[in-house]
């Protein structure tokens, strides 16, 4: 049985996915969940992923946005405000 990943590892992986695809893809929580499940396999479960998303948001590295549905993004100056 593989050792479980840490919250930090998972949230760092999520942050990288979001950063690398900035401007090309908007990530929903469900998409991030599926992507890290694939990346970490048995090393993470849904509860861990939920904690990692919470860590990502509460650390201020990412924010929730709303464009028809809710997404997780890196903070930026939003278009609507311009």
């Amino acid at each position: 049985m593989a050792e479980q990943a840490t919250i930090q590892e998972v949230s760092d992986a999520m942050y990288k996915m979001i950063k690398d695809s900035m401007g090309q893809k908007k990530w929903k929580a469900t998409d991030l969940t599926k992507a890290v499940e694939q990346l970490f396999g048995e090393r993470c479960d849904k509860a861990l992923i939920k904690s990692a998303i919470r860590d990502l948001i509460e650390s201020g590295k990412c924010v929730y946005t709303y464009f028809g549905g809710s997404f997780i993004e890196i903070p930026h100056k939003e278009g609507a405000e311009n």
Binding site: A29, I53, R54, E58, T65, G68, S70, A80, E81
Partner: protein, 402 residues
């Protein structure tokens, strides 16, 4: 001090007459609040041009939360600078909308200090709605709200603020304690309420009886509506009193029964309770004579929504009857299975009702581990969901032999 008073000839038309007017309320607010004054100006412009001037969405929120704030910006910020940001806040309402007058005064004080002073009491989601503030005011409002014991509600792809009718607190027809269940669900799903984790929104609405005063059947992804299993309670002498005092029982009660399960011979009302569809019409028509039965509980329905992405859907029956007893484990286990299947397979902005339509109710039931039964009706007298697999298997055997 508010800016110069704006000329609003078109809006002024909507102040005429004896009825309350939103224009009158905004004008009162505009006397001391520049946001309300610019709101009048922008709205007048919209009436002139017949288009809205709002932009919607974006980053706005409070730290850690993904719901409760709906970003709103003017697309005419130079002309109406005080509404260049005009965000909405949803405040989680107490179950059944019970407040003390003191709490309301304090909520309004917070809003006059940090926002436009305009509210919706209440929004169609059920939340108390604060209309119009700037991004930099969001954290201070949130801090003062939480100090007062209030919290933000849901928005976006999360569990929306659960809402219910006034239930047993004020209504004799309540078949279960809607307020207790609403409070429980609000506490149990705090994480899902503040951190959007679903393909789209998820609404719980609780009505204590089939009158469905919160219109759960038309709006909620999960509608929990009170009902009963035994016979309608009847007081014969009160029925006679209704007849004596002029109620036309044949025409107005029996004649309007959708199930045609009642008979009136001029003296005695008879109800075939096995055929009753619990529509509440007869009970509403003669409330002193008839009442829901004594074996009360609730029916859980799934899948309604208003027409945003696709057309409107009404709920259909998922669990025909359930007795609610805290800690409501049967309900939360069911919801957890539904959330798991929908989150795993739902498309972006696909409500659970649309998901069920796409995959089929049979497949959905199998995925959540619920056996199909004849009572899972879309509406009275129709069940499109039960398939007799044994029958089809037998038929294919016959086909082979043919």
């Amino acid at each position: 001090m508010a800016d110069k008073k704006r000329s609003t000839p078109k809006l002024d038309e909507l102040e005429k007459g004896e009825w309350p007017s939103f224009v009158k309320e905004i004008k009162i607010a505009a006397e001391k609040n520049p946001m309300a004054n610019d709101l009048l100006g922008q709205l007048e412009r919209s009436y002139e041009e017949k288009i809205g001037h709002w932009k919607h969405g974006g980053i706005v929120g409070v730290l850690g939360y993904g719901g409760g704030v709906i970003g709103r910006y003017s697309d005419l910020p130079e002309e109406f600078p005080n509404v260049s940001h005009f965000h909405t806040l949803r405040i989680n309402q107490p179950a059944g909308w019970f407040y003390t007058s003191d709490a309301l005064r304090k909520l309004c004080d917070i809003w006059e200090k940090h926002g436009s002073g305009l509210t919706n009491m209440h929004g169609s989601t059920g939340d108390l709605v604060f209309l119009g503030t700037r991004t930099e005011e969001l954290e201070p409002v949130f801090r003062e709200l939480t100090e007062l014991g209030f919290d933000l509600g849901g928005s976006g792809s999360d569990v929306r603020t659960p809402s219910c009718c006034c239930g047993m607190a004020r209504c004799e027809w309540a078949c279960y304690d809607t307020m207790a269940l609403t409070y429980f669900l609000t506490m149990h799903y705090q994480d899902e309420l503040h951190r959007p984790a679903f393909p789209y929104k998820w609404k719980f609405k609780m009505s204590g009886c089939p009158n469905d005063c919160v219109a759960a059947v038309a709006r909620a992804d999960m509608s929990i509506i009170g009902t009963w299993r035994d016979d309608i309670q009847m007081n014969d002498s009160a029925v006679t009193e209704y007849a004596k005092s002029g109620t036309d029982i044949q025409k107005d009660v029996v004649g309007n029964c959708p199930a045609k399960c009642m008979e009136w011979d001029g003296k005695k009302l008879k109800i075939d309770n096995r055929a009753c569809v619990k529509c509440m019409h007869c009970i509403n028509a003669m409330p002193k004579a008839l009442a829901p039965g004594k074996d009360r509980g609730a029916c859980i329905l799934i899948g309604s929504k208003a027409p945003i992405v696709e057309g409107a859907l009404l709920s259909s029956v998922l669990i025909p009857f359930i007795k609610f007893v805290p800690p409501y484990k049967e309900l939360t286990d069911l919801v957890e299975k539904i959330h798991e299947v929908w989150s795993e397979n739902g498309k972006n902005r696909e409500r659970v009702g649309e998901f069920i339509q796409r995959v089929g109710m049979g497949n959905f039931l199998e995925a959540i581990g619920v056996e199909p039964i004849p009572e899972m009706v879309a509406h009275p007298r129709e069940n499109p969901y039960v398939f007799y697999e044994e029958y089809f298997e037998e038929e294919s055997e016959d086909d082979k032999n043919a």
